[in-house]
């Protein structure tokens, strides 16, 4: 990395050689014959001509990308230098699990002709490093050592190594005309696509019909006959590899961004994010499983000049068009196979149908749905990967986990407002302060791509990954049997926050879902790893999570599930079902069965029947069973005398065929020991976790991350709130509520709501006072004279008796004496009782039942000192 860094600092100068020999009107591009390349400060000029084999800048300086140059072209302004290439692969770029297909140990200098089309064959000419020689296939391998010679013997089409067709290696510089970057998706299909329908629909999109895709693939694919399966393989590859082009492309984008960077800060140079390292890393870990080989491409990354961008756009809608009839994994399998049958004109056999329902295919579609978000993620990952802490647990090294932790870190690092800003910001952050080498038009495109990506990414990331409620709207809404639960909608839409304080208030509301949860990284990682491993192994398990209220237990688990859903959509882990029940949200512990069954199968049965059905479901093997992740919130409420509900919940995961992961939440750490009988506690196991109350720094961080650059608070004020709350409870909800109240106080303190400034110390103090100060003293001060007198009488009687308890009769004697001293008219017993009852209603006094009349015993609910203090202040 370091060596490369220094090399990069030597600026290379690129110049077109000769005049443009061809002008493509459609693309507004000129073709060029050769490119002169020189290194600044050196005389030597290297000339690169089409047909030569070149090295292309990657993120691994040892092994730059290899390609054969087909053609140069540039745009009218001559600023943008592009080249069309034929890629060659090094062995390290081949997925780990495919390496074995080679059948022999590879030569270090060996490369493979790349037949796949996932990588864009158009590159930025300025990423060319130099030329290499290539040796045709029939020569034997020489001794290793000569570094500039590479050997091609085989071709690689993402599935298998083939003997290289000699025709391909012939020098045909101009033979491949600048076909506008091969459409990655059959053009015949694209007209059906409506690019408009992309964003919001995406989430609910069902599976594409594989047969349609396959047909389309075989029709349009002129270069290689690839089945849909292959296609997906190739797509998968590029999703991780970020495609060769994008590697260089992103690099240039970074350079472009450098202009915006502060020149003083010279950040660590992060070289082309895309390819080798990350990919090798990631793939090694990822591709252990067989399934992992099939993946969907992110076409976004293949963004070249305008066409490919266009194609990228046209892809997903087209799919969505085909997909709609299909139910995807939320529906029973039967359904999907039926619709498949209906849709496939080329009579597919049973086998095909079953194939169509293999997870890989499902995932492929799921991928397509998630793609934009994924694109962003992949990019972020590759950019950040070298910065990851080394001290990771082996499990957490898994890519999805890394992605997730990256996201969190990102959130903390830059509290940028939108995803788009984040991704742009990233570029800026990691770019060396170098001159802008990129032409303007390119950068425009780049931003366009980024924008779309960012937007989509956000859209899909925001949407919660909950399975939608399965209440089906029945035809007859009048009968309450099939009533749909809904609150009537409002006639006037809710007003949006107007000023900064309102905005801050909206953000500080507990209900506003933050993009990620700061301060719970470790817990998140642990839960994530636990659930992920269970889902991957197809086993079951229990976990017990404890912590005082408001420490983010439920929120963390939701976040974990969201990330896991994401990962499963990206095909990294098998799909799973997430079900949530809450002990507080049911009327009886046995209702837990009913709710679980209803969420699993949408059946409504009685508790006993539901228990039996669940028992059957979890103990019998079933084909294609996916893991169920069950979150049981407020576990202590599920306690029954025989504890059979808890017993079942913890027993099911231990069954061989259950594939059930149970996450339980409660407030007390020792709940298993305290309330569970041995056989239940033993089944729960020892996988426990406790959420500590937030420290003041964490609380502060939580508020800051929520406020997210909305400048509404003074720094000190925030610190005061978080310190105060941390000292009392460490409850994040409390913290947010106080801040919210402080904004209101601030708003009211100024006459004009628009002119309200920052929330200052005094506002926060007032809010804290309101929420934490006890009202007893004020209540005593505001009480009537007789009530105050009665309190004094109570204390006097207590002192006389030496006890903290007296009957009303005794106190009343004191009261009468005191009122004589005070010169007040003595009150009747009834009045005295009324006074006493009033104090009792406020709970300043604790009273026995009032039917005891004069004999009811009286106790103080406040300390005597407080009463005396309050009364003394009244007199003064």
């Amino acid at each position: 990395m370091v060596r490369y860094f220094t090399r990069l600092r030597m600026r290379r100068i690129y110049k077109w050689g000769g005049r443009p020999y061809i002008f493509d009107r459609k693309l507004k591009s000129y073709g060029f014959e050769y490119l002169n390349m020189s290194v600044e400060g050196q005389e030597a000029v290297t000339t690169v001509t089409p047909g030569q084999y070149i090295l292309i800048e990657g993120n691994d300086d040892e092994y730059p990308f290899v390609a054969k140059l087909l053609k140069f072209f540039g745009d009218e302004s001559h600023k943008q230098k592009k080249a069309l290439v034929q890629w060659f692969l090094r062995l390290s770029e081949v997925p780990q699990n495919k390496k074995l297909l080679l059948g022999r140990s590879p030569h270090p200098q060996e490369i493979f002709y790349y037949l796949g089309r996932a990588c864009d064959n158009e590159i930025n000419a300025e990423s060319i490093l130099g030329t290499v020689q290539h040796v045709p296939e029939d020569t034997p391998f020489p001794e290793p050592g000569t570094k500039d010679t590479l050997y091609v013997k085989l071709s690689w089409d993402t599935k298998a190594f083939n003997v290289l067709d000699p025709v391909l290696m012939q020098d045909t510089p101009a033979s491949t005309p600048p076909k506008p970057a091969l459409p990655l998706f059959p053009p015949c299909a694209s007209p059906t696509a409506t690019p408009v329908s992309r964003g919001p629909v995406r989430r609910a999109l069902p599976t594409p019909d594989p047969t349609v895709m396959r047909r389309a693939g075989s029709v349009s694919d002129t270069r290689a006959t690839m089945s849909a399966g292959k296609r997906s393989t190739l797509e998968a590859e590029s999703i991780h590899s970020a495609s060769k082009l994008s590697a260089s492309k992103i690099l240039s984008a970074k350079r472009r961004g450098s202009a915006a960077d502060t020149p003083g800060v010279r950040k660590k140079l992060q070289l082309s994010p895309g390819k080798k390292m990350t990919r090798a890393d990631v793939l090694c870990e990822l591709l252990d499983e067989e399934m992992e080989s099939e993946k969907v491409i992110s076409l976004k990354l293949s963004s070249s000049v305008s066409h490919s961008l266009q194609h990228g756009c046209s892809l997903s809608p087209m799919r969505s068009g085909c997909k709609t009839p299909n139910g995807q994994r939320r529906f029973p399998w039967k359904l999907s196979s039926i619709s498949l049958d209906r849709l496939s004109p080329t009579a597919l056999g049973e086998q095909d149908l079953s194939r169509a329902t293999t997870p890989s295919r499902r995932k492929e579609s799921a991928m397509a749905i998630r793609k934009p978000a994924l694109g962003v993620l992949a990019e972020e990952d590759s950019e950040d990967s070298p910065m990851q802490p080394i001290a990771l647990t082996p499990r957490s090294k898994r890519k999805s986990a890394q992605l997730v932790s990256l996201r969190i870190r990102k959130q903390l690092n830059l509290l940028d407002n939108t995803q788009k800003l984040i991704s742009d910001g990233d570029d800026d952050c990691f770019v060396p302060s170098k001159k802008d080498l990129q032409s303007s038009s390119d950068s425009e495109e780049e931003t366009m791509v980024r924008k779309t990506r960012g937007r989509n990414g956000k859209a899909s990331a925001r949407t919660p990954c909950k399975t939608p409620s399965k209440k089906v709207c029945m035809v007859t809404p009048s009968t309450p049997r099939h009533a749909t639960p809904s609150i009537p909608s409002r006639t006037v839409p809710a007003r949006q926050p107007g000023n900064i304080l309102e905005e801050a208030r909206a953000r500080l509301h507990v209900s506003s879902v933050p993009e990620s949860l700061p301060c719970r990284e470790q817990e998140f990682q642990d839960i994530y790893n636990f659930v992920e491993s269970k889902v991957m192994d197809g086993t079951g398990g229990c976990m017990y999570i404890s912590g005082v209220p408001g420490t983010g237990k439920t929120a963390t688990i939701h976040e974990v599930i969201r990330c896991l859903q994401h990962a499963s959509d990206m095909d990294e882990i098998p799909t799973f079902r997430f079900i949530e029940i809450n002990g507080m949200k049911m009327t009886d512990p046995h209702q837990a069965y009913v709710q679980i069954l209803q969420k699993l199968t949408d059946q409504k049965v009685t508790a006993d029947h539901a228990a039996a059905l669940l028992e059957k479901r979890f103990s019998n093997p079933a084909p294609k069973k996916e893991t169920t992740v069950l979150l049981v919130d407020e576990l202590d409420l599920l306690w029954t005398r025989k504890q059979n509900v808890m017993y079942n919940l913890f027993d099911w995961p231990t069954r061989r065929h259950a594939r059930l992961v149970v996450l339980t939440i409660a407030n007390t750490m020792d709940l298993p020991e305290r309330i569970m009988i041995n056989r239940v506690a033993s089944r729960l196991g020892l996988t426990r976790m406790s959420f500590q109350p937030y420290s003041f720094k964490q609380l502060q961080q939580i508020i800051t991350s929520r406020l997210n650059k909305v400048k509404a608070f003074e720094e000190d004020a925030l610190q005061l709130v978080s310190r105060k709350v941390a000292a009392l409870s460490g409850d994040a909800r409390r913290c947010l509520d106080i801040c919210r109240r402080a904004t209101e106080i601030c708003e009211h303190s100024t006459s004009h709501p628009s002119s309200a400034g920052l929330v200052r110390m005094n506002h926060v103090m007032e809010a804290l006072d309101e929420m934490f100060s006890s009202s007893y003293i004020t209540a005593i001060r505001c009480a009537s004279l007789q009530e105050q007198l009665f309190l004094r009488a109570v204390i006097a009687e207590f002192r006389r008796l030496g006890l903290e308890e007296a009957t009303f009769q005794q106190v009343f004697v004191q009261h009468r004496a005191l009122s004589r001293v005070e010169g007040l008219q003595p009150i009747s017993v009834s009045e005295g009782l009324a006074v006493c009852q009033r104090l009792g209603a406020c709970r300043l006094l604790l009273l026995e039942a009032s039917r005891l009349d004069m004999l009811q015993r009286v106790r103080l609910n406040v300390s005597q000192d407080d009463v005396l203090y309050a009364l003394k202040a009244v007199r003064d």
Partner: protein
């Protein structure tokens, strides 16, 4: 001529009574709540944000009985519903802890008031569990911007905290803290320690906003308030009578005896409900022949208000029963409040009879027992044993529920009380 004027007068005094009664019986809300401007503003702002912005909130209004919690809330709701946008956009749900004594009833009531789809007519279908699931599902489906805000008004909030597991409170407060349909949970309670009643997890979900209604009203303000409460509104039809009445009220409030009475009331309790009771009694003495409130009316009303509730019962007792009570009083004096049984009382009574046999009949024991039981039924004495069945009546331990002063006062006022009995009562140690 004369009858006509009387009719007119009669109608006028009826009108006056109607206007003032509405005020005193809390049938009409005051224009502006008095002495709670900041609380009013706070609550109004809060509910306005829920109604307009769809921001979920929870708040407790805490104050002693009769301090105007419901009045404040109703004023705010009235004001809120006057706003055009809000009018059709909020769904208020009124619950009372004394009516909805458990979650099952409360849920049915909520569902009925929200008029969800499982309600037909006035009947709510489904079991308790189904109702809960249905309501939660309905609230969950809603979102901030599109669904109507629901205002849950929980009167006697503290009683809801006694429901099993606090399920209802947990769920309502949980909705108010999560991105579901916007709700505002408004609790009204007189208990200052209401938060201690909430379970941890319920408490954590509550926003800890409390609006305290603790009146720090001075006596001057109290007097002003009395005046304004008794004054007629400006739009009164008969201006002559209006001036006359209001002048009369002004002089009334300056009368020293009236001020004394009011001061006494003010000392006893500051809340308006007891004041209204007093004024109501005074108002009821206004008639066509006496179209004004006089100081004597107020004094009389005060006397009625202040009267000891047991004095009347004591007046209705027979001499024998009174004698028994005096015997009990002496026993209390001798044994310093220790409980007594019938036998002891009877002995004491017999001693008195022996001394003063000429003045009072000798009663048989069964008659005395009967009188003793009557006193027990009147709850002037109370049995101290929990298990009454095992012990013979004569030996059950009892306690007197009367204060010395009450007994002496009753004796003073008792018509034709024998002097011996009076003397016996006043003498120390029988």
């Amino acid at each position: 001529m004369c009858t006509l004027s009387r009719q007119r007068k009669g109608s006028i005094h009826e009108l006056v009574q109607m206007i003032l009664r509405e005020r005193f019986c809390h049938q009409r809300l005051p224009e502006k709540p008095v002495g709670m401007e900041s609380q009013h503003k706070h609550l109004l702002e809060l509910l306005r944000r829920t109604a307009v912005h769809g921001e979920s909130n929870s708040v407790l209004i805490v104050g002693p009985r009769g301090s105007g919690k419901t009045m404040l809330l109703n004023c705010v709701l009235r004001e809120l519903l006057e706003v055009k946008d809000v009018n059709k956009n909020v769904l208020p749900v009124h619950l009372n802890g004394l009516l909805q004594t458990d979650d099952r009833i409360a849920l049915k009531e909520i569902t009925r008031q929200l008029n969800l789809e499982n309600v037909v007519g006035d009947k709510v279908f489904g079991s308790f569990a189904e109702n809960l699931a249905f309501l939660l599902e309905a609230l969950k489906k809603g979102d901030r911007s599109s669904s109507r805000p629901v205002l849950f008004i929980l009167d006697e909030f503290d009683l809801f905290a006694h429901h099993k597991n606090q399920t209802l409170l947990y769920n309502l407060l949980d909705v108010s803290q999560s991105a579901q349909a916007p709700v505002a949970v408004i609790g009204l309670t007189c208990r200052l320690d209401v938060l201690e009643l909430l379970e941890k997890r319920v408490k954590s979900r509550f926003s800890h906003r409390q609006i305290h209604l603790l009146s720090s009203l001075s006596f001057i303000q109290y007097l002003d308030n009395v005046r304004s409460q008794l004054s007629l509104p400006q739009d009164f039809p008969d201006t002559n009578f209006y001036d006359e009445w209001n002048d009369g009220i002004k002089t009334l409030c300056e009368d020293q005896s009236v001020v004394d009475v009011l001061q006494r009331h003010y000392n006893s309790s500051k809340d308006f409900r007891s004041l209204h009771l007093l004024l109501m009694l005074a108002l009821s003495r206004v008639s066509a022949s006496k179209p004004a409130i006089k100081p004597t009316d107020l004094l009389e009303a005060s006397r009625v208000c202040m009267v000891d509730s047991k004095a009347n019962i004591l007046h209705g007792l027979s001499i024998l029963e009174l004698c028994l009570i005096i015997a009990m009083k002496h026993l209390n004096d001798i044994y310093e409040g220790e409980p007594f049984n019938f036998q002891m009382v009877h002995n004491e009574f017999k001693k008195f009879l022996q001394r003063k046999s000429h003045s009072i009949h000798n009663f048989d024991k069964p008659v005395v027992i009967k009188a003793f039981e009557h006193l027990q039924q009147l709850e002037l004495i109370k049995s101290m044993d929990s298990s009454t069945a095992k012990i013979q009546k004569e030996y059950q331990l009892m306690k007197l529920l009367l204060d010395h002063s009450q007994i002496m006062e009753a004796l003073q006022k008792y018509p034709q009380c024998p002097t011996d009995v009076k003397q016996w009562a006043m003498s120390a140690f029988g």
